[in-house]
Amino acid sequence: MTAVVALEGITRVFSLGDVDVHALRGVSLSVERGEFVAVMGSSGSGKSTLMNVVGCLDRPTAGRYLLDGVDVSKQSRAQLARTRNKTIGFVFQSFNLLARTSALENVELPLLYSGVGTKERKARATAALQRVGLGERLDHLPNQLSGGQQQRVAIARALVTKPSLLLADEPTGALDTKTSEEVMTLLTGLEDITVVLVTHEHDVAAWAQRVVTLRDGKILSDKQQTPFRLDPKRQEA
């Protein structure tokens, strides 16, 4: 079985005028199907750049990136867009929902760009919103929803295309502790999906089965761990 993400010697260099900034200096990483991996690191460690490369928002300067067995490191912008559309779902710290657009339409958005017909789009988006517990709020606008609910809409949007990989960039960064726990419970409870979570908080990384730590553009450590879960009793309370 091929790895969902296979990075081989990825480097990424930004030229800022005369200075070259090496954000990634040869990162090799493999994420298997169904894994829940947290990428940690302080700011400047290269984790955002790594997440952009893994998310096909950016191309590596050198190295090879196989996503679902397909080499995407040399793809054009349009090809990358299609790859993002079909294979990746994003969850951002600041939710990134379209304003003045209903929850349902926000979730329909990726399907719109892959050319799914109106009826099927509506049905799949509704199902995705029900899956995250927002079946009753299809017509709500983002500003009528709480932060936790907005993040659920974003998760529904990420899941609606049935992607191979879900990329979460500080998904709890804008949420309070209780809501964060709810969102993390939702993310860790998803089945049949590979999740890469980028965070700088140990509390959040604790939910993952595996923690990869970056420093200065290189992998510092890569450890398996027993994932943290809420005590079901406490959850009920």
Partner: protein, 409 residues
């Protein structure tokens, strides 16, 4: 994503900002409406001029006798009879570029039917005058050579005079009309000819044979022709050359040496007509170009708003790209937004322009002259403006880097 989806997306984005979209489209609305209304005005003015000169007769020269100067007071053209009946014959036979010539002797006087009387101008002429002026007889028969040869006391009424003497729609054929006590029989009524370029009513006149005019009304001075000669030139392009030809012919006949002033004058109506025509064309072009500028300004308005909109919606663009919109799809979305603005504006502008043209035509009494090609052109051009001025902002949107766009606050 099909074109229908893209259009719906664009429409929704435009409706989210109704006032702004309306104001942007307004530039195009006004531009297109202005083009259509202005061209209609220009066409109306041109048709007015054309109609006037068509009534006057084209390819026409008018030869007038010279001025009488006695004791330093120069009397103006026509005060001294210098043209002779032989001059007329010479113009008819010797000038190669001339297809016909006819005299008109003119006096003002009272014409009387049994019931009514009317002051008008009485003109003596020959049958070919009506050909030269393209002036058909609608009732009765046209003047014939035998009328001329016999000096018959027969009369053709202009439409205005017929109405004044016998009432509208009546049949005055065979009725008696007296001029200075001389009884004439009405032999025909002429077609309505309208107004001269100076606003004079062509139809307020009566015609009798020139021979009768001389014998019964105003004998004139022997062989001198106390009136003017209408000359018809073979083709319109030859008018100026024909004018020179007639001038040299008459100078020869009048034995004018070099340096001597002409003792006659020739008016070239084609020249007057083309001058007025040019005036109308210039007006037309001027109005159209002003309107075109306003359409261009409308287009720049679209570009301006689209640029603002692209910047404002940077984050939206980032989100769309992150979930898989290709640069082409983003380009299409913004281009279609500009197109919708321009085309909707163009269509509303066409409606408004047609309405304005209709109002103007009523106001000025012109025929409604909306040129279909101009309407199509204005609409097409507004679409083109949409693409032209929408393309740059749309390209700008499609070239955004999703990472930067997502971080945009």
């Amino acid at each position: 994503m099909g074109p229908l989806q893209t259009s719906r997306l664009a429409l929704r984005a435009l409706l989210r900002n109704k006032l702004r979209s309306f104001l942007t489209a307004l530039g195009i609305i006004i531009g297109v409406a202005a083009v259509i209304a202005m061209v209609a005005i220009g066409e109306g003015a041109r048709s007015q001029v054309e109609e006037t000169f068509a009534a006057m007769g084209t390819n026409l020269l008018i030869v007038m006798p010279g001025s009488n100067s006695s004791g330093g007071a120069r009397g103006g053209f026509g005060t001294q009879p210098t043209l002779t009946w032989d001059d007329l014959k010479a113009i008819q036979t010797e000038a190669s570029l001339v297809s016909g010539a006819a005299p008109t002797l003119r006096m003002n006087g009272q014409v009387q039917s049994d019931e009514q009387n009317w002051g008008t101008s009485i003109q003596g002429t020959t049958p070919n005058y009506f050909e030269i002026r393209r002036w058909p007889t609608t009732l009765g028969s046209p003047m014939s050579d035998s009328d001329l040869d016999s000096g018959a006391k027969v009369m053709w009424l202009g439409a205005t005079v017929a109405e004044k003497l016998f009432g509208p729609g009546s049949d005055p054929l065979g009725q008696a009309v007296r001029v200075k006590g001389v009884p004439f029989v009405v032999a025909g009524v002429l077609a309505k000819k309208g107004q001269s370029p100076m606003g004079q009513d062509y139809d307020d006149t009566v015609f009798i044979p020139s021979s009768t005019f001389k014998a019964r009304l105003s004998p004139g001075l022997g062989n001198f022709l106390s009136g003017v000669i209408f000359v018809q030139v073979r083709t319109g392009e030859d008018t100026a050359r024909a004018q020179r030809q007639v001038t040299s012919l008459l100078r020869d006949r009048h034995r004018l040496g070099q340096g001597a002033e002409d003792d006659f004058s020739i008016r070239n109506l084609a020249e007057v007509a083309s001058a007025q025509q040019q005036g109308a064309d210039t007006l037309s072009a001027l109005l159209a170009s002003i309107a075109a500028v306003s359409l261009l300004v409308g287009g720049i308005g679209i570009m301006n708003i689209m640029l603002v909109s692209v910047t404002e919606r940077t984050r939206e663009i980032g989100i769309r790209m992150a979930v898989g919109a290709t640069p082409g799809q983003i380009l299409a979305q913004f281009l279609v937004e500009a197109l919708v603005l321009a085309i909707v504006g163009g269509l509303v502008g066409v409606g408004l322009g047609l309405f304005a043209a209709q109002q103007l035509s009523v106001q000025f009494g012109w025929p409604l002259l909306v040129r279909a090609d101009i309407v199509a052109l204005a609409t097409g051009f507004s679409g083109l403006v949409g693409v032209g001025f929408g393309l740059y902002p749309a390209l700008k949107a499609s070239r955004m880097d999703p990472i930067t766009a997502l971080r945009f606050e």
